[in-house]
Structure formats: C-alpha cells, structure tokens
C-alpha cells in the first residue's frame, strides 16, 4: 500500500511553493522507483502462474495498458529530470506532467478493476476485446471506460489521494503537513460518503 502513495502525492502539487514541492519530492524520491518493482512483480507472477489470464487480459485491455505504460514512463521521466535544469518553465512543465500522469494512473487502475468485477465479453478461446469507450453508457456494448468504470476510477483516485495525504502527514512537518491534513479532510470526506 506504500507504493500507492507515490501515485497520489502529486495530487497535492498544485499551488504549492517551491520549498514545499521539494519536500513532497523528497518524501517519495528514495522509494518511488523501488515501489514500481511491485508492479513488475505482479505482472511476472501473473505471467508464470496464470498465463492464459495474462494473455487474455493484456490483449483485451491492450489500449488502456499502453496508456498506463506511457503514464508510468511520463511519471518517471518528469520526476527524475525535473531537477536537471534550473529553469522555471522546465520545472513547471515537468511538475505538471508528474501531477497529470500520477492523477490519471489511479483512475485507470480503478476502471480496470471495475471492468474485471463487472465481467468482460469473453469468447470461447478465453480472449476478448473491448473498445476504450463507446457511448459511456452501461449496457450490452460498454467500452472499458463508461460512467460506471470511470466512477470507480474516481473512487480509486479519492482513496489513494487520502492515502497520499496521510503519507505526507507522516513524512513531512510544519506547513506541508498542515496542508496535507486540510486536503485529507476533503479527500477523506468524499471517501466516507
């Protein structure tokens, strides 16, 4: 669950002064790339233990999987390269990219889980295909993204944002910690609803 914090700490990126942003980065910098090893471990375990599920899921969810992959790449690049040039525009651009990619990732993970729970249109051979979206309605021909799965994705985002706020409270102090507690009240309130 600690790895989840890396996805949603950037949610608190907006409107934060430089020193506070640096403290947010420092709270996850030593651990974020090691945490991504768990994603690889999950994929590897799926591959060797349940190969038909691996093949079916990664084929059927191909486009969202590629989107997730690009979001992970963007996230990693933005975090690592942000401090390489002391130029304001560069840092703001990569900071925004970091926040954008880290905010979308929980939405896609939540939507994927919602699709698994709802069920997918399997063929006899165990494979399936779903378009990324159709008309955003649930029914006989839903896409991977419709109002139900996007709602679940937003719920995942809220849950992980709450988790991230608690991580920031744990790892930082002073004004950053206080801001995180205020944000927690917002995110946590949505979660409890």
């Amino acid at each position: 669950m600690i790895p989840c914090t890396s996805f949603t700490v950037p949610f608190f990126w907006a409107r934060v002064a430089i020193v506070r942003r640096i403290s947010l980065i420092r709270s996850i910098r030593p651990v974020w790339d090691g945490n991504e090893v768990w994603l690889l471990a999950a994929g590897g375990t799926l591959y060797f233990a349940f190969p038909l599920l691996y093949a079916s899921a990664f084929s059927g969810f191909y486009l969202p999987l590629m989107i997730v992959l690009w979001l992970l790449i963007a996230r990693g690049i933005s975090l690592e390269l942000r401090s390489h040039m002391p130029v304001g525009v560069w840092r703001d651009l990569l900071g925004g990219l970091f926040a954008f990619s880290s905010t979308l990732l929980p939405v896609f993970f939540g939507a994927a889980l919602a699709n698994v729970i709802r069920g997918v249109p399997l063929h006899q051979d165990g494979y399936f295909f779903l378009p990324l979206w159709t008309n955003f309605q649930v029914g006989t021909l839903p896409g991977i993204l419709d109002w139900y799965t996007v709602l679940r994705g937003v719920l995942a985002l809220v849950a992980l944002s709450t988790h991230g706020a608690l991580w920031i409270s744990l790892k930082t102090g002073g004004e950053v910690e206080q801001r995180a507690r205020v944000r927690f009240r917002g995110c946590g309130g949505c979660l409890f609803c």
Binding site: M1, I2, C4, V19, I22, S23, R26, S27, P30, V31, G34, V37, W38, A41, G44, T45, F48, A49, F50, P51, L52, L53, S56, A57, L113, V116, I117, R118, G119, V120, P121, L122, H123, Q124, G126, Y148, A159, L160, T162, H163, L166, W167, S169, L170, K171, T172, G173, G174, V176, E177, R181, F184, G188, L191, F192
Partner: protein, 125 residues
C-alpha cells in the same frame, strides 16, 4: 452487489469472511480517528488496511473466477482453467521466492534508511 450479485455467495458460504467488510469499516473509522488525533503512522496504517482489504474483499467475492465473463454461455476464466502446469509452478516458485526475497529485502532496507520526517531545513536550502 448490483453489478455482481454472485459475489455475495462466497461470503454467505463462509460467514467468517464477513470480517473483511468489518475490517474495512473499522479502518475507515480508524483513518478519521487517528488523523483527528494527529497520529500519522496509525492513520497511514489504517489507510493501508483499508486499501488491502478492499482488494482482498473483491478477490474473495470473485473467487474462483479470475476474469468473469459477461457473455451468456461462455464460462469465466477461473483459477483451474488458467493455472500453469505443475512443472512451471515448481520452477517458478524457486526463482519467484528468490526474487521476492530480494524485493522485500530492498523494500525494508530503503524504508529503514529513509525513515522519519523529511528534513525541511535541507529542503529549504
């Protein structure tokens, strides 16, 4: 439940599993309580428990399905249908165990090395 009513069957077949939603509710209460008391570590652990048991509860409700089917007449992808052969699992267990040892060891080492709060003075510099 409206999306997948059959998920309740596993819980009803094993009533002790209702402890999972109870832990989820307890962890939600714990998050709010510990944050109100400024107990950051306990609040974070409650949130971790919430996330873990939400996933565990969904997995338990779906079991043995790994990928449910929405096509009438087509069976779900279940554990029995998808699992590798015994030789693959035996070999995989060895290198998976070694890999997990490395991953967990690194995980513990990094979080121990960087425990405590971020040095705000160093961040300001």
């Amino acid at each position: 439940m409206a999306v997948r009513p059959t998920s309740l069957q596993n819980y009803l077949a094993s009533p002790v599993s209702f402890i999972i939603p109870l832990i989820i509710i307890g962890s939600l209460v714990g998050i709010r309580y510990f944050n109100h008391r400024s107990l950051a570590l306990q609040g974070f652990l409650s949130s971790s428990a919430f996330l873990f048991f939400m996933l565990a509860g969904a997995t338990f409700g779906l079991y043995p399905s790994l990928m449910p089917s929405s096509t009438p007449g087509i069976a779900d992808l279940t554990v029995d249908r998808c699992i590798s052969g015994i030789h693959t699992l035996s070999v995989g267990l060895v290198w998976w165990g070694f890999g997990m040892l490395l991953a967990v060891g690194y995980f513990v080492l990094v979080y121990t090395m960087f425990r405590g709060k971020v040095d705000m003075k160093e961040a300001a510099d």
